[in-house]
């Protein structure tokens, strides 16, 4: 049981399970496929583990390179989740640092407690219960089963601002709309700045496009026409009109439910990154392949998480179509802005339950990630997982870095891609026994290629394949590392 929970906690960090729900909402079927890939990748990777170990001489120590790379990966995954904690705090109206400090301190304190592994299952159960309560509450508020709710979302003629939306009643800071989609209006829309400020907009008049700065007095309104776009990032509180289409939302429910992806090279590259990343994070240096019962529990947990992500996405958007404003981000799903739950008490219960679920899941992940690293430290008895100084540094650096908002999903993919580039080649194709150093060489080559492509990501990518390689550099870096191992293997046989 604990083994399965560890695997689930390593893979399903809050940045991943909340990100999965946000992607389903943001991309429709494309996001659903990414969720399916998140289920399939770790299951496939679990079958790879023992292969490398079978080729490894008994009693051999894990190379330092593997330990260092996994430590960096764990640090990056914690960073992604602390960024999310900061985003959640900002979304709920507090300062970013508060969310980061709470999460980082709790995670570090657990590092000081050697018995933390014993509460791993309890933390996972708490996360499960905390995430389920809002589902029940939302189903009751919306008055529909999950299937009926999906049908209603997919039948919407348009996604419009509800009258109870905070974006309509009091208005919200435009900086909170941190999604990827541009805030482009589909119909005439009057927006008001309750506190005044400068509104930057790009207006379209026939073929003429103009960038305009409006200096608005408190309470002053401006009417934007179809095709006009407002720039995000200005520190400006804005109020939108009730009943108008949400800028950035899909054209209709059908458009959301049946949207087709035309970027399958990028999707394939994402799956490759997930598969090899899962292989590196879950299977490198693992001594045994998980038993049937462990795989069944992991599979069940993954399916449960995936179904939760879909259901929560559907209920959230049914109750709060304003989630789409400027593109969906994970932190908004902690408190969908206008989800019509019964009064303030119901709303607080929903928010508290989801916050508790996210914190419990983060703590479970931080314990499981440390345990995962400690399992490689066979000669030190797993001491590295409880080194207070080391983990204070990891949480401290990740916490400070989290003060700057970055996309947590992108950071998670970066962490998995880096781990894949350095560790997946030697896990999948073990180095010859007479040249054990080849695994490190291959890892360094893979990591070098990965780093070069991450840095080159700003360059023009050209076609679909080039863009896929720059977005998910592991598709080039892993084969590069594998080539090194292949060449070494051939030389060793001569």
């Amino acid at each position: 049981m604990t083994s399965a929970v560890r695997i689930l906690a390593v893979w399903l960090t809050p940045a991943v399970w909340l990100g999965m729900s946000a992607l389903i909402l943001d991309l429709g079927p494309d996001g659903l496929w990414i969720g399916l890939a998140l289920v399939c990748a770790p299951l496939a990777a679990l079958g790879f583990g023992a292969r490398a170990r079978e080729a490894m001489p008994a009693g051999e120590r894990e190379p330092l390179f593997t330990v260092v790379i996994l430590l960096l990966t764990v640090g990056a995954l914690l960073w992604a989740n602390l960024v999310l904690a900061g985003d959640v705090a900002a979304w709920l109206g507090g300062p970013r640092w508060r969310g980061i400090v709470v999460a980082a301190t709790a995670g570090w304190l657990l590092a000081a407690w050697r018995g933390a592994r014993r509460i791993l299952t309890a933390l996972a159960l708490l996360a499960l219960i905390g995430a389920s309560v809002p589902l029940v509450e939302a189903a009751r508020a919306v008055g529909a089963s999950p299937l009926r709710a999906w049908d209603r979302v997919a039948s919407q003629a348009a996604f419009r601002f509800p009258a109870v939306s905070p974006w309509v009643t009091a208005g919200r800071d435009l900086k909170m709309a941190r999604g990827r989609a541009p805030i482009v209006f589909d119909e005439e829309h009057r927006i008001t700045a309750p506190l005044g400020g400068i509104l930057r907009a790009r207006t379209v008049d026939g073929n003429r496009v103009a960038d305009i700065d409006w200096e608005l007095r408190p309470g002053q309104s401006v009417t934007l026409r179809p095709g006009d776009e407002i720039e995000r990032g200005s520190p400006l509180r804005l109020r939108f009109e009730a009943g108008k289409r949400v800028p950035g939302a899909p054209a209709s429910g059908v458009a959301w439910a049946e949207a087709r992806s035309h970027d399958w090279p990028r999707r394939a590259a994402l799956f490759f990154t997930l598969l090899t990343g899962a292989t590196a994070v879950l299977s490198s240096g693992v001594a045994v392949r998980p038993s049937r019962i462990v795989v069944a529990l992991v599979g069940g947990g993954l399916v449960l998480g995936f179904v939760w992500a879909q259901t929560w996405a559907v209920y959230s958007v049914l109750g709060a179509p304003d989630l789409f404003l400027g593109g969906v981000t994970a932190e908004r799903l902690i408190e969908p802005p206008s989800l019509a739950v019964a009064g303030t008490a119901g709303r607080r219960l929903l928010q508290a339950a989801l916050l508790a679920a996210a914190l419990a899941s983060f703590l479970a992940s931080s314990v499981a990630l440390r345990e995962r690293l400690g399992a490689l430290d066979r000669t030190g008895g797993g001491e590295i997982g409880y080194d207070l100084g080391l983990w204070a540094s990891v949480f401290g650096v990740a916490g400070v870095a989290s003060l700057w908002p970055v996309d947590p999903w992108w950071l998670s993919m970066l962490a998995l891609g880096g781990a894949a580039s350095a560790l997946a080649p030697s896990t999948l194709w073990p180095a010859p026994a007479e040249r054990p150093g080849a695994a490190t060489t291959a890892g360094l080559v893979g990591l070098g290629v990965f780093a070069a492509l991450v840095l080159a990501a700003e360059l023009p990518a050209g076609g679909g394949l080039g863009a896929a390689a720059l977005s998910y550099p592991a598709v080039v870096a892993v084969p590069a590392g594998a080539c090194v191992l292949w060449i070494t293997g051939r030389r060793a046989r001569r």
């Binding site: 399965a4 439910a257 049946e258």
Partner: protein
Amino acid sequence: MRTVTNRAKGVLVLLLLLAGFPLIGALPHQLGAIRVAGLSLLWWYGGIAAPLAACIVAVAWLSGPQAGSFDGPE
């Protein structure tokens, strides 16, 4: 040898399950959009059927024969 074959089979089936999704989406006449019990065929497949099938495939073909800890001593 049999174990390796089972692993390869398992991984291949998982890849096929993933590849089935865009194929259903690309069916002519928007067949994937047909709704059954309120949910479209594409979403039935991607959200329910394929993940459950993936779970069964992993248990049948990708698990190890022995009981043991995945990542170190309990």
